[in-house]
């Protein structure tokens, strides 16, 4: 690891740490209905939305009503996104004349965007019309993110309130999250990105004359000569089609809402989606921005900032070593190349290390930092191909996903997942101080444990059973192109990504088949809703309890000791659940590559 590399990571963390505290406090105020600063002017819009939807913002919901509202909205969203894809050829704004999306792909894509996963089995620019992108996907980028945040806020209310059944109004939380947080933040970020060179245009494509196709001798420079085909002898068209579109606005919400679905197939590795190191920096910051800031929101809302800081610290403590781990693994390079006497050392003239699948304008450090950020947060956007990372460099992002997307995690979903882990940590360790366990003054009983168990088991089951089904069936196996353990890693990565709503992929797996579209879709549904529903149930159950005043006999949950314990439990559960599969994939691959 070079000094330059360490410095970049440190700067990233410091900048992030500075922004998130005020943002966290702002969000806490938004969700409690206090409107600071300029946003006050949006209040009339908010009221108008409630008027339009017939919502009484004063009317709070029980956890069952809240769950029902979330489910209804998600179901309607699913049907809408599916329907738009299936009918896009008849809908406006389809200049490329794209056909209707085939049913299993449309299902997969609908689930993917409604669950905030943004797994993409398709290439956006050649499959989806502008209308579909705008009214199906972009809408969901906002809505699914706002849903995650709303559920978190309801959960926090459940923890903080006492002796009540009510945990807030879902429609209000949804509206406020979108109107006061996601929309303004996206607008600002989009403007900054446009300023840094990210494309934002309405015409979806432009035709341009390419250097490659300038007919000097009639043979395109970049293509391999195909002498025996008549095509190569014919004069090529002097123009190429360059897909454009409202990229900056989509990129802003894709990062801020931990969606990850890019405008272009290659996501933020695409030069028009992420042109410079500076735009890369802004995008990386915006990946972790809201998930990290929500920790402070939590601290504010439970009126004990130390609690939020403790969870944020736990996340950071897991995050940082893994960033350095990936950066080190990638910088070390590929021994197969070393054997061919390729110089992989870092020097002034080259970045060194394993640069396969990475953009030269980002280099190893920014690719590693992005990979860890995007998998820690359940974002899934990429600026380098994770499939081309060294085995260990690829293991870490995959493992971060398998931890359940709780290290920062998705907006809202990451923190509520982490709080569920905190409940488990409290349960195991709380007993060791000779009291029945409690978190923030709420007793953790068998109902909470049952729900927490679901939150941990179901995504884990989706990943393991999904992967098992894929490697057991011909339908699954036939999509695996890479031999050996790496092929296994690709399948495992796909189900890990879906089951935990990340959305990034190891490429190399042909995922656009009925089998993968359907099974990954189911995994995404499980990973989203079978976490949300138990979490809301816990919120309802905790809200009804009285708060036990803390004293000398209560286990503190803001200390270094507790943070270490929480980290240990998260890592232990993650390690114990996935050690065998990881051993059969990346670990074996690593050993075979490096030891032999």
């Amino acid at each position: 690891m070079t000094f330059n590399s360490v410095a970049q990571i440190v700067v990233h963390i410091v900048v992030l740490a500075v922004i998130i505290r005020p943002l966290g406090a702002y969000m806490a105020r938004v969700y409690s209905g206090q409107y600071p600063g300029m946003t006050r002017h949006l209040k009339s819009i908010e009221r108008f939305i409630y008027h339009l939807g017939g919502v009484n913002p004063e009317l709070e919901m029980t956890s069952t009503q809240y769950s029902w509202a979330v489910s209804r909205l998600s179901l309607v969203s699913l049907i809408a996104v599916y329907g738009i894809q299936r009918t896009q050829s008849w809908l406006p704004w389809n200049p490329q004349g794209l056909t209707n999306v085939e049913s299993s792909l449309a299902f997969n894509t609908a689930v993917s965007f409604v669950t905030n996963t943004n797994w993409q089995s398709y290439s956006g620019e050649v499959t989806l019309s502008g209308f579909t992108q705008m009214f199906a996907l972009t809408v969901q980028n906002f809505v699914s993110a706002a849903v995650g945040m709303a559920v978190l806020i309801a959960f926090i209310r459940g923890i903080h309130r006492t002796s009540t059944q009510f945990i807030g109004n879902f429609w209000v939380d949804l509206t406020r999250g979108t109107l006061y947080i996601l929309l303004p933040a996206s607008a600002i970020t989009a403007f900054v990105l446009v300023g840094l060179g990210v494309v934002q245009s309405f015409p979806a494509t432009i035709e341009l004359h390419t250097l490659e196709n300038t007919p000097h001798d009639g043979v395109p420079v970049g293509d391999p000569p195909e002498i025996d085909t008549p095509k190569s002898n014919a004069p090529s068209s002097p123009t190429a089609i360059l897909p454009l579109g409202p990229v900056a606005s989509q990129v802003a919400i894709k990062q801020l809402g931990t969606n990850g679905g890019g405008y272009f197939n290659t996501n933020s590795a695409h030069p028009l989606e992420n042109p410079t190191p500076l735009s890369n920096f802004v995008q990386m910051i915006s990946i972790l921005l809201i998930p990290a800031a929500l920790c402070h929101t939590f601290g504010e809302m439970v009126q004990d900032r130390r609690q939020g800081t403790a969870l944020l610290t736990a996340m950071t403590v897991i995050f940082l070593p893994l960033v350095f781990g990936v950066a080190a693994a990638e910088q070390y390079g590929n021994p197969a190349l070393s054997r061919l006497s390729v110089d992989q050392r870092a020097s002034d003239s080259q970045s060194g290390g394993n640069m396969e699948g990475k953009e030269t304008r980002f280099g190893i450090t920014n690719s590693a930092l992005w990979a860890v950020s995007t998998t820690a947060a359940s974002n899934g956007s990429v600026n380098a191909m994770h499939d081309s990372f060294t085995p260990l460099g690829g293991l870490i992002p995959m493992w971060l996903i398998q931890l359940g997307e709780i290290v920062f995690g998705g907006v809202g979903s990451g923190l509520y997942g982490m709080i569920v882990y905190a409940l488990i940590a409290v349960f195991v360790a709380g007993l060791m101080v000779g009291r029945t366990p409690e978190y923030l003054g709420k007793k953790i009983g068998s109902f909470e444990m049952r729900m927490a168990a679901l939150v941990i088991i179901l995504p884990c089951a989706a990943v393991l059973i999904g992967t098992a089904a894929a490697v057991m069936t011909e339908a699954g196996r036939s999509s695996v192109f890479n031999p050996g353990p790496h092929g296994f890693s690709e399948v495992l990565y796909a189900y890990s990504s879906a089951g935990n709503n990340n959305g990034s992929a190891f490429a190399g797996l042909c995922a656009n088949t009925d089998f993968y579209n359907v099974t990954l879709g189911v995994a995404m549904l499980i990973g989203r809703f079978f976490v949300i529903l138990p979490v809301l149930a816990v919120a309802g159950s905790l809200a009804q309890k009285t708060k036990i005043p803390s004293g000398a006999g209560t286990m503190p949950t803001h200390t270094t000791l507790f943070v270490s314990l929480l980290v240990a439990i998260v890592l232990l559960v993650g390690a114990l659940s996935f050690f065998p599969v990881l051993a059969l994939g990346p670990v074996v691959e690593h050993l075979e590559l490096y030891v032999h």
């Binding site: 000779g434 953790i444 098992a468 490697v471 353990p485 296994f488 009285t546 314990l565 114990l576």
Partner: protein, 687 residues
């Protein structure tokens, strides 16, 4: 109870436990513990695999499969054994209790107010029957004394051989079936049906026959089941993964079913799963060793959570009675003169307070009992009307009593009440003492200070409790001034003065509204509402039936300080659960490092690198892990029974200590243990 020896020591109970361990293999018993049931199924499965391997060629050698299978069976048996050992202690207690449960012939009175009776077997008595019992007979049922006074031998339930007095009315009217009347007779009204008596409940509790899982135990069992389910998933999916691995690498063979089952059992939280119920039973046992019978396991658990202790002043915080501590003479009177008069006036006073005055006079001035014959004293006993007592000797009327009573007495004889004495009385009251004024004829001699004596070491106990995060509240009938002074001296956090049953109940409700758990002790019928409201309510065995019914624990020693011990036992119970859970989960790391490289040795030999322990061979590695997993249960049985030691330090400190011991220890111990077992297996050629 005291007579029952701990079960561990006796060989017969050990044999009993082994027999019980085998009997518990009954599937209907096993299914109650999901973690161990999974192991049980695994044992059966590997046995089938072994039989199959004898008939047709199998993935592993029959010897290996048999070894794994036997050790899995041992794991189940060890778990059963742990539970049986814990139950054994209760069984011994139950047996000694049951001896008193013989059916006796009871004299059932035909109706109230008569002595006519019919003889019926005690089993046919019903509630509100009246029964006559005479000296030497066994009381046929739980009841309330209606008539008579008798001394009763209650050693059958308390282990205390000194008889106690039972009489109608008041707080000593409850009798327990199975105890014996030593002298006199009683007429009792039956309060409990046969089979539902106090002794029956005690037997059920100590025997664990009606043992229900406590809330925290259920929650923990859910967590453990969840972990078991995760590992089941991990292991079950490992089979297709390894088949795929073989398919793509073209080498080796898929992981065998025997190894999969072995891996699963090692990963499942069997250590805590096996010991969980033993821990719970042992907690109850520790309680009954302290001579406390809990009427529900829930109460023991709640004891660990208690935030507030309500303690009666008298007998708990202070010694039972006030004692004289100081003589304050009036002007013109020497201290010796006052002491002599006080001593004289107290010679016939057989109350503890009176005796303490004599003791003080003797200690300070060497005064001894006078020759009563020579001075011919005339003693005046205390009366509620005069509120004084005293003696008339040599024509002098010596009186002692409450300040205003003596003042009136002196003034009525033309004497005056000196200002100094008035001030002394005020000072003593302010300091929480009780002043007694002594006079001789029309002259005030001075004031005796009677004080509540705070028990030695109680202040330290309360400081300890404060560190544990427990608030102590003193309950007293004294006026607020006196109460405040004693509260300050004893170091309690709060006090309730001039306490009435209603005020007590109100106070408990207030604390509970604030989310706190309250523990208290009580013995009188008027304590019953408060006892019923408190989360942990310890009734004194000497108390009334109503109090015993309302409480969720009964202290057979009737010692109010026991509450502190009960809290300790509750905390110990929870800590033991938490520590062994942590230990059990932490163990898994080492087991992975042992089993995984071994399991995939054929397909991916490179995985040998992660075999940190450098174990002998794949099969010895797997077997060592399985053996360790079984043996650790037996090793930890004593800890489960004794409980993790509780020290009254802050929660943070406690957590740190236990995390180091059971968390870090849990990571390290299996590495050493598995390596050691592997060395033994390989060096002795057992494999």
């Amino acid at each position: 109870m005291n007579t029952a020896k701990p079960a561990m020591t006796s060989m017969t109970s050990l044999r009993q436990a082994i027999i019980q361990a085998v009997i518990k293999l009954n599937p209907s018993t096993q299914i109650r513990n999901p973690v161990m049931f999974a192991v049980y199924v695994g044992s059966i499965f590997t046995t089938v695999l072994w039989i199959d391997s004898l008939i047709s060629p199998a993935e592993e050698s029959p010897g290996f499969i048999l070894s794994v299978s036997l050790w899995l069976w041992s794991t189940v048996l060890f778990a059963n054994f742990a539970e049986a050992i814990a139950e054994g202690h209760g069984k011994a207690q139950a047996a000694s209790l049951r001896k008193n449960q013989t059916t006796v012939i009871a004299r059932k009175l035909k109706h109230a107010g008569t002595r006519e009776f019919t003889e019926v077997p005690s089993t046919q008595l019903v509630v509100s029957d009246l029964v006559l019992i005479r000296a030497g007979e066994t009381i046929p049922a739980d009841g309330e004394v209606i008539e008579g006074v008798a001394s009763v031998d209650e050693s059958a339930i308390t282990g205390e051989s000194a008889p106690v007095v039972r009489e109608s009315g008041g707080d000593r009217s409850a009798v327990t079936g199975g105890t014996r009347i030593i002298s006199d007779w009683l007429i009792i009204e039956v309060k409990a049906l046969p089979g539902h008596s106090f002794i029956d409940r005690m037997i059920q509790m100590v025997e664990g026959a009606k043992r229900q899982k406590t809330p925290n135990e259920i929650a923990l069992a859910i967590l453990l089941s969840a972990l078991t389910l995760i590992f089941l998933l991990v292991v079950a999916t490992l089979l297709p993964f390894s088949q795929f691995g073989v398919h793509v690498s073209g080498a080796g063979r898929p992981i065998s079913l025997t190894v999969l089952v072995a891996l699963f059992v090692c990963l499942a939280p069997t250590t805590i799963g096996a010991l969980l119920s033993a821990i719970g039973i042992a907690g109850m046992n520790r309680l009954s060793q302290a001579n406390v019978i809990a009427m529900s396991g829930r109460a023991v658990e709640a004891a660990g959570d208690v935030d507030v202790l309500l303690l009666d002043k008298t007998g708990t915080i202070t010694l039972g009675n006030r004692q004289a501590t100081k003589f304050s003479p009036a002007p013109g009177v020497t201290e010796q003169e006052l002491a002599e008069a006080a001593h004289l006036s107290s010679m016939a006073d057989e109350t503890a307070e009176g005796r303490s005055i004599a003791v003080l006079a003797k200690r300070q001035f060497g005064l001894r009992g006078r020759d009563l014959e020579s001075i011919k004293p005339h003693f005046v006993p205390f009366s509620a009307r005069t509120r004084m007592s005293g003696v008339t000797v040599d024509g002098h009327e010596i009186r002692k009593g409450a300040a205003d009573a003596v003042a009136k007495h002196v003034q009525s004889q033309g004497g005056s009440y000196p200002e100094e004495s008035r001030r002394a009385v005020q000072e003593i009251s302010n300091a929480g003492g009780t002043p007694l004024v002594v006079s001789s004829d029309d002259r005030v001699l001075g004031v005796i200070e009677l004080k509540d004596i705070v028990k030695g070491g109680i202040r330290e106990r309360f400081a300890e409790l404060r560190q544990m995060g427990i608030r102590t509240v003193m309950i007293t009938g004294d006026n607020p001034l006196t109460a405040a002074a004693i509260a300050a001296e004893a170091g309690v956090d709060d006090f309730l003065a001039e306490a009435t049953p209603e005020a007590k109940l109100e106070m408990i409700r207030d604390y509970q509204k604030g989310g706190r758990l309250v523990a208290m002790t009580g013995d009188g019928t008027n304590d019953a509402p408060a006892l019923a409201q408190a989360d942990v309510a310890v009734a004194m065995n000497s108390g009334t039936q109503a109090a015993k019914e309302a409480g969720n624990m009964v202290d057979l020693d009737s010692n109010p300080t026991k509450l502190i011990e009960i809290v300790n036992i509750g905390k110990q119970l929870l800590m033991t659960r938490g520590s062994l859970t942590t230990f059990s989960i932490a163990n898994d790391v080492a087991k992975y490092f042992a089993i995984l490289p071994a399991a995939f040795a054929a397909t991916y030999p490179t995985l040998k690198v992660i075999d940190l322990m450098q174990l002998g061979s794949p099969s010895s590695a797997i077997l060592s892990a399985v053996i360790f997993n079984a043996v650790i249960i037996v090793v930890l049985i004593p800890l489960a029974l004794k409980g993790v030691r509780y020290r009254p330090v802050g929660a943070a400190q406690l957590l740190r200590n236990n995390l180091v011991i059971y968390g870090a220890g849990g990571l390290l111990v299996p590495f050493l243990g598995i390596k050691l077992i592997d060395l033994i297996l390989n060096s002795t050629g057992l494999l």
